[in-house]
Symmetry: C2
């Protein structure tokens, strides 16, 4: 993309009404726009980043054999009354709205009721099980306070996967595979080494739920990490009994602030029973379906990556989710730079070419703020020496590379 064709501009000053680092930097860099507290539009660069995150998630979900679907934001009270989650006393995060013709609807903050009802139209026999289905969809939470930028929004993106089984044993098999899929996602997002499977409060069905917590100083949760074992315990269940059960030793645990980036639950029959999701077993007897659910927040992930990776100069994106792999900076050499841009994009490399009329200093500052993994300068001086200057945004390392070697380097490092 040509930067001259990108309508968003950067700004030097932090927005006055934001305290969270993620919101301040993402707004300055033109990735997001604040509509109201906890409500952010995704501008072109932000949308590209989210799409990259979504694609990683989608690939891992598809590898599990899950079917992608898209449920609605507007929720029918009927199904939520059956599970006793419609009342505002039970669930204080509802946004509700009135229908012109009479009646009420809610804005979904999760979709167990909806997916269970859908499944009941399509499951009859044990032969229809197991299966799993997911969506990447907008959710709403009526948060009283919303000061964490896109880390805790009133409107946010969620990937929610649901699985359906004939037995707890079969759920267990899938649950393990889903756990591995989550680990793959965090590795691909570049936060694998900071993210721990964390034991947390269980639901109605199982003793523990499992969170994926990423160590981050602005996290709302406190966890106790056993780095050697690669697991953690949430403060809410941190006691001697639980540690004994998990075979963990207090002396080996490290306390840390963390952000919950995923959460997986064994639901059992909590939703299938009230909503009548049953199957005929091999003896012809009706049984409730056993379910699991698996959440992940793409918009929270974008905020988290900002919190843990960005530095004083601005955003720092891993190659896997960067809006563009390469930020090509033309210093009054638009013709030569455009030629290189065309060569690279023809190879499928995603390049942002700064072809604007601006000073070198302004372009460098913007490149640091936007945070593409590699900045490449095309200048008269470099061209005279047949060299490009390449800067690695994350490490700050700068090197000169002969133009003759550049395309081979791109093929090795950046080729998708």
């Amino acid at each position: 993309m040509l930067q001259s064709k990108l309508f968003t501009k950067t700004r030097r000053e932090d927005p006055k009404d934001e305290v969270a680092k993620n919101a301040r930097l993402l707004i300055r860099a033109g990735f997001i726009h604040k509509e109201a507290a906890g409500i952010y539009s995704l501008l072109p660069l932000g949308l590209r980043t989210i799409n990259k995150i979504n694609q990683i998630v989608r690939e891992e979900m598809n590898a599990l054999g899950a079917n992608e679907l898209q449920m609605t934001a507007l929720q029918n009270p009927e199904i939520w009354q059956k599970t006793d989650r419609w009342s505002g006393d039970k669930m204080d995060v509802w946004f509700k709205t009135a229908l012109n013709g009479g009646g009420e609807l809610g804005l979904g903050f999760t979709h167990e009721e909806a997916i269970t009802t859908i499944a009941s139209d399509h499951v009859n026999s044990y032969k229809d099980l197991p299966f799993s289905a997911y969506q990447i969809q907008t959710k709403f939470r009526n948060e009283a306070r919303a000061k964490s930028g896109i880390m805790r929004g009133r409107e946010f993106l969620m990937k929610d996967l649901y699985s359906f089984h004939t037995s707890e044993a079969d759920l267990e098999v899938f649950y393990e595979k889903a756990t591995q899929a989550y680990k793959n996602i965090f590795t691909r997002l570049g936060i694998g080494d900071k993210t721990f499977l964390t034991f947390a409060t269980g639901g109605s069905f199982s003793e523990f739920s499992h969170e994926f917590q990423t160590i981050c100083e602005v996290g709302e949760d406190t966890i106790y990490v056993d780095r050697a074992k690669g697991i953690a315990v949430n403060q809410e269940v941190y006691n001697d009994e639980v540690l004994a059960k998990l075979d963990l030793e207090k002396s080996k645990l490290e306390e840390a602030k963390a952000v919950e980036i995923g959460n997986i639950f064994k639901l059992g029959t909590r939703f299938s029973e009230p909503l009548g999701l049953t199957y005929l077993d091999e003896k012809g007897e009706r049984q409730p379906v056993v379910m699991g659910c698996y959440g992940f927040g793409p918009s929270r992930a974008m905020g988290l990556l900002t919190e843990v990776l960005a530095d004083d100069q601005g955003l720092v994106w891993p190659l896997s989710v960067a809006p563009f792999a390469l930020h090509l900076i033309s210093l009054n050499e638009n013709e030569k730079a455009l030629e290189l841009y065309k060569t690279l994009t023809a190879k499928g490399i995603e390049v942002l070419l700064d072809d604007r009329e601006a000073s070198a200093g302004a372009k460098f500052a913007d490149a640091d703020l936007l945070g593409m993994p590699y900045r490449v300068i095309v200048s008269a001086k470099g061209l005279a020496e047949n060299q490009y200057e390449i800067k690695n945004r994350a490490t700050g390392e700068v090197k000169m590379m002969p133009t003759s070697e550049f395309v081979a380097w791109v093929d090795e490092i950046l080729r998708p």
Copy 2:
């Protein structure tokens, strides 16, 4: 995809609570699920179709040079008060909701206010213009009645493009290009010959707006079509004065029911003035930005394609938007069929393989109902004769093809 891994099932009977053909068929085929009147979830096959439609739209928008972004459903009253569109008296389609901390939010039914506000953060000089930006995003309308299936939903998908200019003349240039992009979209959707640029009621700025109306017997609009000129007039502006202005002759016009599938408007400064979207011109004077907007409904398009193309046996998808190009039917030949499936998918062909335990009759009926463009039968009888049976869903034409010629046929007809 293996049909045995698709969780949705077809049903023989129409749902009792639907009158619209599109909803009846799409529900029977397992493409959508009704959550409430006018509110439908997209099941896996429906989502695949919508994604195909969206991709066509995205390619045409990107070719215009438009930047893709994603605005929010939740809308801040402040900006709508400035344009006098917050009050329910002015706009009866609002869904509004209360914030737990106090205050109200609305669910966006359009995004002129939002995009104009965003643009005002990024536009300063005439050098920042023109540009255009679009999203494919969920909108909400508090419809009193919702009986047209996914053709008029309370929650639906919209592609909304907005353009920003220094002058009406510059808007006019873009408006013409956008009109052509719309024509490209309808051609690619397979309804180019049924869709007409239609003169309709103007807004505050221009004498006419332009709708794209597709002839369809269940359409809510009546239009008068001049087929030779390829344009039409909406009944709402159909009078002698308008016909004279458009150089149309009553005797050459054909009355038809039609569905509005797109609508493009010159907005002028209707939104930029109240929301303070201005630019400094070359003389250093502040001027309001001149805007255009361009809407298209992907979910309505899916309904419309069903209304105009489906037959008594079920859905009929054009290759451009079919969930899968080819429906491979294994008649007790799963091993051979799977081999062929792998060959085809390795070529990038999207194939649905019916590997279920079911009768030939049930499989054929399902294939007709699901509506993939080509059905290919792999049977013992055919294999003995080294032949596949291929059926064209739209024409009903059935032919036998030597297995040796099949891959070449696929390369010619189906290769993306």
